[in-house]
Each structure stands twice: as structure tokens, then as C-alpha cells.
Assembly symmetry: C2
């Protein structure tokens, strides 16, 4: 038997993936559970990732003409009820505000008081409240398109929660647009999916498949839901972003009407699209390894940590000065649209220090001891390489090469993830093979099986439902790059099919 | 009688200040009332100001070592109860979540269902929920200080609301720090007040008085509340930011303990500090005039609007190209840490177009017609000058001077506001004069009177209360730059006093 190599995170991914996930979050200091059921505390190291995500996406949205605004946290119950499918989709997970005061009860305890005449729902999403504003803002075709985005917190009262992936409160952005024509709205829906896909691949280093949801997986009230789907390291799919074409459903519900250029009163065509702190969960599960998270340099909380090695007190001042000068120089360099962020950690805690930064996933660690200083160099380690692999680099070369090194790490992470997805994506045409693909072969490691199956689907909800019941596998999307001419037989019923879809277990 | 000059905003400030305020917000398209009681919709032109405020302050906070994080929207009732004064201060205005589901009632209406075992309060402020995290994060003096900030929405159920100034939901930042010593916490409280004061004066162009609140005006649970106070154009005071030294009150309530360097268990010393979207209300009332808002260039939603004047269709292409090239060049220029933002408005709506931008308060309007183009110039108007005053400026000079012009406008706004405050700040030592100062002399314009009265106060809550009852005037702050050696007599009771304070009506 091979010797068990101890990893920084226990258990390793292959031993118990869900537990590995929780332990990585803890070890990397990204977030923690809060005393409020299902709500998380996003700690500074995790929040910094979110800040980079928001800044990058915000700029990308604005380039397409989108402007930010802010709408109320509360949605009157009557608003939510305006769109039947919509309210049905969210009724089971709404936090409801019923009182606006606290009063001392008979036993001295505080009790809710001041009952509201109409209960308020905390926004699970804002189509209805934003729709109300749109109905006032839009009078004529000249007011269109309206392109709005909101960065906000939303609440969906989930019964089973998991940090970042599914929490009762989460942070997100929600874009809402209104257009004069169907074509324009459809094209905006696709445009925003392209923004998400570009962001996921270029910044998060997460390869994604773009496609369309089947009817049963659509956003409640949408005509069409587009999505990007990514493969996590346990081979499950994560929906990383969605863009919805809402047709005229919400325009009719909220009365978003306009005078057309032909002087006719028409309903607007609307879209909505969003990504959330869930992306951070995807980041962890796409790039993390058995030593912790691995942060893609372009959205890393910080890119570089300097680790001064001070063996004698007499060396301290010189080494610290060397580090400070180096840090100052590095911080002047722009990478991925932002100044490089540099940490200096001079805590005297031995080997634990280096491991802390490995677990935190910082792209580059640079040790600086008396010898490195004497040689005018740094001792560099990269998070995308084995932790023991360290290289002595001349200080000036380190500075001048730094954006190149960061880009190389970024690309390596993307390519690794892409290879992994390719290795675990299988074209399956036989029903038996399909069932076997999604059935755990090793009872001790039930997590390790399956992947993405590219199989034919006849289009019937019945087949979709059957596969879901039998295997807990769903259609993640009908990919855009489908070979539309390829005919085949539905993997479930054997009837004619004109398209392959992505089947997978999912988060 | 002088001829009545019609202004863009009706009524003018001197006619009906509160109504002027609402009309300015409407005319400038900053925000609107929402269908949810007391909640506002912040429209793109208003939200862009908030984005600039947050970006600027965020960078200033980070320079002092503060890091961002995010804590739950919900606070368990039992947490709020931990600090007695705190809960008393907020109990009357808490939105309370009591259910987590909606269910169809007998008549088909949706009703709240799934009653929570413990009601959750929507954060009015986060001392107690963040204190809980701090109690887990802090073990030893080595973990201190902890310097955290959160950008978030909070809810205080106000009975009388006013856009930006007092809304049930508002956006803010709340900083929370924990320290090993009292001195360090006190010094952090002052440091953050200095940040606010610098930001208000340098970016918002709002002169502020720094000082300490009297006991009755303190934050519920604080040992000491520091504040910055600004004078609005109706001579009332606006509290523009507060920084609280919380002593060990919240540390005791939340159990924030640490092992000191002398190996003793001690309670930490904490601070909290915040500014909110209320600042935008202050901006409107400090700089706005009878033609609309006037935005200080450093935090303006946009600095420049180009207004092509196209009289013949044949000119359109050339003029638009001229504008586009100019806009591109201007957008490359950095001003106050950000790229200059430029709008181009080619709507053919006559004089209404220019007035719209005046009402929106954009610092610079530049008209570009065929003659301007032929002369390679622009026809520039500045929002800090009369609207008819326009100057022809050579295009290249316009570009090369732009940051200088913007800085000049910025300084003008600050100096105007400072003069106005000086003109309306009076040292008063006679009780009769004091009462007259705060009593409207003209019944038709009750808003126009008073200002800041620098008068002596003996320190008793009774005198403070009496003045408040008689005149609705409160002690805004005990200013730091008080002449401490100046002895005097309390303006209310005539007893000995060692300090002048700022008395004013306030928002």
C-alpha cells in the first residue's frame, strides 16, 4: 500500500468531498456560519474576493450601457402575487416582515408589536418591485431600452444551507432591462450570458458551458432561462449564472407599457440576469485542492505574500526594510485592471505561517531571509505548483516578471479545470451505460463517479423526470454549441431526438 | 417691487424649503418614493453619487488598515437585548421577521406561514451581531486590533420619512473595531471622525464642525459619540457622520474577551462609526440652489455633458464625431482618483435640454455647434456660475484646463458654503437674544431664521431639555476647537459654564 501523504485539509477531497468543502472554508478563513440559521458571515479574506468580482463585473456591465440603481429591500405581498408562476416559485422560501416595533410583554420579554396592515416580503429577487418603477419610468419607445443593475442582498429561506452555495441571505447583482422589441430583449439576454461566461472563464478561470435550461428548470415566470454551467471537482455541475428572457410576462404583471413609434400602446419586453456569492463556492470547488483553496490571481483577495525569515534580531530591520521596499514596488504594478495587492506576514510562528498562506490560496509566496537579501533575490513558491517547489529569483526579475507569472498561474488554473472537465465529459448513447455512469461504483466513496453525460433527449418532461427520480441527475442545459444536425435516440425513452443535452448531478 | 425672476425649481428655497427639497430631488432625477412605506428608490443619477462616495471612503478606510466583511441582515431578538440602552434605543423602530413562508389562506389570499421560534430583527445597526463574531475571532491581545467595515442596508422604521434624510431602509457603511486598550479605541474613534471630516470637506465640499455629542444625543449604548455637523441652506444643522467610543459596554454584552500580554483575561474596547445615504440629502441642501442641485465635481455622478447643437441634418455627422473625439479624450483624464465621466446628450428637445442638466447639477455643460466646431472650440457653462454665463474656450485649452476648472468649481462650492455658515453663526450670551435668534420673525417664511448659536452651556440635561422644549433647538455638539479657557454663563440658567456649544435646529 502506498504511504498516506498527509494533506493540509482533512479529509481530502476523495475521502469526503462535502466535509472537505467545509474544512477548506474554515482553514482559508473565507467565511463562517452565523448564529442566524442559514446565514453566513463573509470574513475579510472571502469578502475581498467578492469585492474583486463586483468591481470587475460592474465595469463589464457598464461597458454595455447598464447603470446601477437601488430598490427597496421589501416587497409588498400584493406585488409578488402579480405574476402567478413567480409567486409560486418563491412562496415557500420567503422571509416575511409582519411587525415594525418591539414591545415589552407581560413577562418582561420583548415581543413583536405594531402589526403591518400588509405583510412585507424580503426580496428573494426584485422583478416585481423594479417592474413597478419601470412602469412609471417608461412612457414612450424613446425611453427604451432601460438598462438597470442592482448590487444587493436577497433572502431565500432555504431549509438545507451550505456556505456560499445555498444560504438564506446572499449577496448578488440583479440586472433588469426593458426593451421595445422581443428581438432586442432576446439579444440582451444572450449578451449578458456572454458577459458572465467571459467573466467566469477569463477572471475566475472556470470553464463554463453556455446553454438554455429545459422548461422545468426555468426561473419562475421566465419564457427562457439561459445559464452557464461549470464542473466542480466532484464532477457535479454548478449553475454559475443565469440570464432570463421574461417575454412580456412581468411587463403585463407590472403594467410596463409604452407608446410605440407607430403610436400604439404596447407592453415592454423584459430581461433579468444575476450572479451571486455562490460564485465563490464554485471557485473553491473548481480550483481547491487537498491543501486548501487556490485563488485565480485576477480575482484573488491578494496576489503575493512576502514572508520575511528572521533568525536573529539583528537582521530584523534590514529584512523588513527590504520587504517594505519590495512591497511598495509591487503595489505600483497594475494587474487585471487593479493594483497588485501584497501582504507581508512577519509573525514568528514557524512553518505554520507558510501553510496558512497555502491554505488561503494566495497565488505567490516569497520568502526573504538573510541569504536572499544578500543575493538580492527572493525565494518564490507558486500555489499552482507542489508546495515544496521553490525557486530563487533575482529581485528585479521577480518584479519585472510578476504580471507574467500571475498570468501563467491564471492560465494554468483555467487549463487544468478545462482538462478535468474534458476528462469527465462523456458522450453516452446507451441507457445502461448512462445509468452505470451515474451510479457510484465504490460504496466507500459515493461522491466519486459520473461527470457530464452528453446524451440525447427527446424533449419530454416525462423523460427528464424519470432520470431525475432514478439517478438524481438533471438536464443542466441544452448547450448552444449543440450539433443541431445530429439525430439520435432519447437516452430514456429511445424516441427520436434532435439534440444532445448536458446531464449531470448538480449543486 | 422687484420683478419676480422665475427659477427652474418651484417653489424657491426661500418660499418653502421642505417643498423645494422634494422638488429638487424630482427635477434632478436622484430618487423617488417607492410603494413601500418610507423606502426610496435611488435612481441612476443619485446612485452614481453614492458609488463615488463609497469608492472614495472605502479607499480612505483601507488606508487606515480597515478591511471589509459582511454580516447577516438578521439579528436574533435575544442578541439585541444584550445591551439594555441599545435595545431601548432601537425597539420602537425595528422591522421584525416572524415567518419564513407564504401559504394560501381560506379565501385564496397568501398569508405568512412557518412561524419562527425566535423572531428576527432586520439590522438597524450591527454592533450585536458583529460583536458575536468578534467574541469568536479574538482570543489574545495578538489578535487585536480588529478593524472591520461593512457596506450594507439597514432598516429603522421611521414614522415620518423624507427621501435621503430619513428613510426606513437606507444604505450606509458601519465600521466596527476592537482594541486591547481604552486609549487605542479612543484614538480610533477620533481617527475615523477625522476621515469623515476630511471626506465631507474635501470631496463633498461641505464644511463641518467636529465635536462631541451631549449625553442625551449619544448613540444608544455608547460612552461617547463624536460627530460632524454641517449647516444646510435653511440654517439648520445636519449630522453628517458619527463615530462612537463604546467603552467595554458591547464587549461585555457580547463577551469579547482576550488574554492580555500580562496573561489576564480582559474585555476589549470597541468603537463603531458610520455615514449613510443621508449624505446625499446634505449635499442637496448645502449646495442646491433655486435651479436644482449643484454637484461638487469630485463626487458628481458625471462631470461634463457635451451638448451638440445640430440645426441641419447635414451637420450631424461632423458634430457628433467632434463630440465623440472630445469625449474620448476627456474620459482619459483622471480627476479626484477616477477617470472623468462625460455624457453626450444629442436629444432634439430645444432649451429643455440645457435646463435638465442644470437641474441635475452637472458641473460643466459644453455646447458644440457648427461655429464652435469651425473655431475648434466649445461653448462652456459652469454650474457654479449664473446659467446665462457661457464662455467660448478653445477645445485644446478646454481639455488641458479641465482638472483645473473642476477643482475651481469644487473650491468655490466649499468656500460659498463656508461663508454661508460663517454669516449665520452667531456668538450669543444673552438669553433674550438667543430666544429671538431662534424665533421666526416673518410668519410667512418660518423656515428662514436662526442658524448656529455659539452659546454657553452649564452641562445640565435640564437646561438642554428646556431649550429643546421652548425652541426645538438642540445642542448639535460640543466642538473640539472650543476655547476651553473661556468662562461664561449658561444661556439657559445663568450658572457658570466652561464651554460654548453649538445650538441649532436640526434634521
Amino acid at each position: 500500500m502506498a504511504k498516506q501523504i498527509k494533506t493540509a485539509i482533512q479529509p481530502a477531497r476523495d475521502e469526503d468531498y462535502p466535509e472537505w468543502y467545509q474544512q477548506v472554508i474554515k482553514a482559508s478563513d473565507l467565511a463562517e456560519k452565523s448564529p442566524v440559521r442559514g446565514c453566513m458571515v463573509i470574513k475579510p479574506w472571502g469578502y475581498a474576493i467578492w469585492e474583486n468580482i463586483t468591481q470587475t463585473l460592474d465595469a463589464m456591465f457598464k461597458e454595455t450601457g447598464v447603470k446601477n440603481a437601488y430598490f427597496p429591500l421589501f416587497i409588498p405581498l400584493s406585488f409578488l402575487e402579480k405574476e402567478a408562476e413567480h409567486v409560486e416559485g418563491f412562496a415557500k422560501e420567503c422571509a416575511v416582515v409582519t411587525h415594525h416595533r418591539l414591545e415589552q410583554g407581560e413577562n418582561g420579554n420583548l415581543l413583536p408589536a405594531g402589526k403591518l396592515t400588509e405583510p412585507l416580503v424580503i426580496r428573494p429577487t426584485s422583478e416585481t418591485i423594479i417592474g413597478d418603477s419601470f412602469s412609471k419610468w417608461i412612457k414612450s419607445y424613446r425611453d427604451l431600452p432601460i438598462l438597470i443593475n442592482q448590487w444587493a442582498n436577497v433572502v431565500r429561506w432555504e431549509m438545507r444551507t451550505r456556505t456560499f452555495l445555498r444560504t438564506s441571505e446572499f449577496l448578488w447583482q440583479e440586472g433588469h432591462t426593458a426593451h421595445a422589441t422581443k428581438e432586442e430583449a432576446v439579444s440582451r439576454t444572450k449578451m449578458m450570458l456572454d458577459v458572465y461566461s467571459k467573466f467566469a472563464e477569463d477572471y475566475m478561470a472556470i470553464p463554463v458551458i453556455k446553454g438554455e435550461k429545459s422548461a422545468s428548470e426555468r426561473f419562475p415566470g421566465a419564457v427562457d432561462t439561459l445559464c452557464i454551467e461549470a464542473m466542480m471537482h466532484d464532477r457535479k455541475a454548478l449553475q454559475a449564472g443565469t440570464s432570463h428572457f421574461l417575454g412580456q410576462n412581468f411587463a403585463k404583471a407590472s403594467g410596463i407599457r409604452f407608446q410605440s413609434d407607430k403610436e400604439q400602446e404596447e407592453y415592454a419586453w423584459t430581461t433579468s440576469w444575476g450572479v451571486s456569492t455562490r460564485l465563490i463556492g464554485g471557485l473553491i470547488m473548481c480550483h481547491g485542492d487537498d491543501d486548501g483553496i487556490v485563488l485565480p490571481p485576477k480575482i484573488a483577495s491578494s496576489q503575493i505574500v512576502l514572508l520575511p525569515i528572521i533568525r536573529k534580531d539583528a537582521d530584523r530591520q534590514n529584512i523588513m526594510e527590504y520587504c517594505e521596499t519590495l512591497a511598495r514596488e509591487l503595489k505600483e504594478i497594475t494587474f487585471a485592471g487593479r493594483k497588485i495587492s501584497v501582504e507581508t506576514d512577519d509573525r514568528d510562528i514557524g512553518g505554520a505561517r507558510g501553510w496558512e498562506w497555502i491554505k488561503k490560496g494566495i497565488p505567490i509566496r516569497a520568502e526573504i531571509g538573510p541569504r536572499d537579501m544578500a543575493e538580492n533575490s527572493v525565494f518564490m513558491a507558486r500555489r499552482d505548483r507542489p508546495h515544496r517547489e521553490k525557486t530563487s529569483v533575482k529581485r528585479d526579475k521577480f518584479v519585472s516578471d510578476i504580471t507574467g507569472i500571475l498570468n501563467e498561474i491564471q492560465n494554468n488554473l483555467f487549463n487544468q479545470a478545462l482538462s478535468f472537465r474534458k476528462d469527465n465529459t462523456v458522450t453516452i448513447d446507451d441507457k445502461g451505460d448512462f445509468y452505470q455512469f451515474f451510479t457510484p461504483q465504490n460504496k466507500e466513496k459515493p461522491e466519486i463517479h459520473g461527470g457530464f453525460a452528453m446524451s440525447h433527449w427527446c424533449g419530454s418532461e416525462k423523460c427528464e423526470e424519470k432520470i431525475k427520480e432514478d439517478l438524481m441527475v438533471t438536464i443542466r442545459c441544452i448547450p448552444f454549441d449543440n450539433n443541431e444536425n445530429e439525430k439520435g435516440k432519447c437516452i430514456c425513452c429511445g424516441n427520436d431526438s434532435s439534440k444532445r443535452v448536458v446531464y449531470a448531478k448538480s449543486y
